[in-house]
């Protein structure tokens, strides 16, 4: 009766472990990780632009700067390193760039979630090989022990073959268990986490919208500065070479505006993909749906790779 139960349990687990399901989970994991990395990079670039803007303002206003007196104290061990900063000689504060730590943490969490799901959904074949090998080694070792206890090597070859065959069968069952165990856990985690993932991807998708506004307006700002210089060059009778250089710069900067606007809102797609996985987890998605989701996510990953390179 016990063996019947295990056969049924194994069959049920195998039935749930369609490669398409794990493939979709892995694709989702990779896409979520890439989306997180892309937005983290955009937040980091925003931070750099803020620093450049603050420094540009200080230069334009010809503000005198100096190292803070606290820097001298660093010669004594135990002094606070963070107090050694650049200060304005007029005593006013230097504006600090914003880091948006909670958005950064949320990106990191979504990326780590994607990575962990990918890891758990990873190819069972890897486990199969490792587990079978371990069991075969164990069987051979046990056989060696038996032979030593018997005080002879007789029948060792027969025993080894028998035990190795047994190990392969047990290994196979172990792999089936691994596959079932992975899928069961994946389903549980995906269904449980969906409300948070939907909230997070909605929030990060809006953050992408705000970042796009900052990025496009910054790129247009650069083009507008060049336009002002071009106007001045023409009005002051600058030579054709100088005018040509500024025109070429303007062409390049408008190309950057177009490129910046091409950044896709990947988080909306990531949220949608997670919702599809929930559907698949509760049995509502067909194999075709899952395959389509793998292709969709693979295309998204390719776009994200290109977008990050363009940043």
């Amino acid at each position: 009766m016990k063996s019947c139960f295990w056969i049924v349990a194994v069959a049920v687990l195998m039935g749930c472990s369609a490669p398409e399901y794990r493939g979709s989970v892995m694709s989702f994991g990779v896409a979520a990780d890439k989306a997180a990395k892309a937005q983290s990079e955009r937040l980091s670039r925003l931070n750099e632009r803020q620093i450049a803007a603050v420094r540009g303002q200080l230069a334009a206003e010809r503000i005198s700067l100096a190292p803070a007196g606290a820097c001298a104290a660093l010669a004594i061990p135990g002094s606070k390193v963070k107090d050694c900063v650049v200060v304005r000689s007029d005593g006013a504060d230097i504006a600090q760039p914003e880091t948006f730590t909670s958005l950064a943490a949320l990106n990191k969490a979504v990326g780590a979630y994607g990575n962990s799901l990918s890891l758990l959904a990873a190819d069972v074949a890897g486990d199969a090989a490792a587990f079978s090998k371990s069991l075969t080694s164990l069987a051979t070792s046990v056989d060696g022990l038996n032979a030593t206890l018997d005080g002879s090597d007789s029948g060792k070859t027969d025993n080894a073959a028998r035990l190795a065959a047994g190990a392969t069968i047990i290994g196979g069952l172990g792999n089936t268990f691994f596959a079932g165990s992975r899928v069961a856990k994946l389903k549980e985690i995906i269904v449980e986490t969906d409300p948070q993932i939907q909230q997070a991807t909605s929030l990060l998708s809006r953050a992408s919208e705000a970042l796009l506004l900052a990025e496009v307006s910054s790129a247009i700002g650069a083009a507008n500065t060049t336009r002002t210089r071009l106007d001045r060059a023409i009005l002051t009778g600058a030579n054709a070479e100088a005018v040509g250089k500024l025109q070429a710069k303007l062409f390049e900067e408008v190309a950057v505006v177009r490129q910046t606007a091409a950044v896709r809102d990947s988080y909306a797609a990531v949220g949608k993909a997670h919702a599809s996985l929930v559907e698949a987890s509760v049995g509502g998605a067909s194999l075709d749906d899952l395959k389509a989701s793998i292709f969709e996510l693979a295309a998204l990953v390719a776009l994200l790779d290109a977008a990050v390179e363009d940043l």
């Binding site: 890891l119 948070q196 997070a200 929030l203």
Partner: protein
């Protein structure tokens, strides 16, 4: 840079759309103006101001979302589930390692038995 609370994302989007429309109109008008005209200078200033407003509006949006992310505590909840997935993956990996450890143990026992047998 103080954090300004905003009512909702729809309001933010409406304000963004207004700024974008205003920028586009000023850019078109500048392109139609005479190069040395006072109108062009004024339109150039309008564009700069609108671009600065767009930057500030983008930061306001991010501030609002940063607060929302902090309040929802989403990062901690998602991280907990990531750890659960990682634990399960490790558990499966360790199952293989346990068999390997057992193999080593049996190997050592064999050596010991062989050693005593030889005495």
């Amino acid at each position: 840079m103080a954090k300004k609370p905003m009512s909702n994302w729809g309001t933010w989007q409406q304000a963004r759309n207004t700024l974008v429309t205003s920028l586009g109109m000023n850019m078109d008008a500048l392109n139609d103006s005479a190069l040395a005209s006072a109108e062009r200078t004024q339109l150039g200033k309008n564009i700069e101001r609108t671009l600065a407003d767009m930057q500030e509006h983008a930061l306001n949006g991010l501030r609002m979302l940063d607060l929302e992310a902090a309040d929802a505590n989403l990062a901690a909840l998602i991280t907990a589930q990531s750890k659960e997935a990682k634990r399960e993956a490790d558990r499966i990996k360790n199952a293989t390692k346990d068999v390997q450890k057992l193999t080593k143990l049996v190997g050592k026992l064999t050596e010991l038995v062989g050693l005593f047998g030889g005495l």
